[in-house]
Symmetry: C2
């Protein structure tokens, strides 16, 4: 089955967190750009470069089960070719929810001939609970 | 004095680390895009959004002195409008050099009417010493 052709970075991002929630390694890896310079940094971990290394890291994560993340409080900048998303990841694992940390993630998407793909996923740990930040989307209501 | 007009992301990145090394807040802030969605994440810290908040954070850093960083082991992806740099930051402070950590940073630059500007700086801590990674630039020699 060919990989779906996502027409926006938002669709690709939704598919990314969906693949994580289903521990679907094939769906997950099909979302990355066909470029050996793709970068993945898991929270508190070293930098991973290229498809083989990144795939192996997610396979190791999925051995412990799927990962349920709700991306919230998006800030983005975009142009015709690139979208830069910075989000707070709400990780739905009961153990993690009690910790006094939150995860900040930068996801960068580029428009390719086969739709919007991920070129960079950089996640890191921040202290304290996620701030309940007022942001533009909520101010529209 | 008007801000210099940088003709590439590389030039803007050089100017960013130069401004840090001189604790020059005006030069540093002139490198950011004129957009209130700009994002800065210092290692281990919360997300900062917008010029005023980011400026205040660097002013607080500069009160403790300038910051000497050598960006190394660049991985990048770019198109006509955007450049995504992922680097390892070598921080030249004697105390830090003895620690068993390194800093991973994603810098995103966009081409604007007034040259290439920063829209996102996301730095985080990784365990262990910086890997002595073979990368393309070194393989050219």
């Amino acid at each position: 089955m060919p990989a779906p052709l996502f027409s926006s970075a938002d669709e690709t991002e939704t598919a990314f967190y969906d693949a994580l929630s289903r521990a679907d390694i094939e769906a997950l890896m099909a979302l990355w750009a066909e470029d050996e310079e793709i970068i993945c940094i898991h929270p508190g971990s070293v930098r991973l470069v290229g498809h083989a290394t990144i795939r192996a890291s997610f396979e190791a994560i999925f051995e412990r089960g799927s990962v349920h993340i709700q991306p919230v409080q998006l800030h983005s900048s975009r142009n015709m070719m690139t979208a830069v998303h910075n989000i707070i990841e709400e990780v739905h694992r009961s153990a993690e929810m009690t910790q006094d940390i939150h995860i900040l993630t930068t996801n960068v998407y580029v428009k390719t001939a086969v739709g919007w793909r991920i070129v960079l996923h950089h996640a890191s740990v921040a202290p304290g609970r996620a701030p309940n930040e007022l942001f533009r989307a909520s101010m529209l209501h």
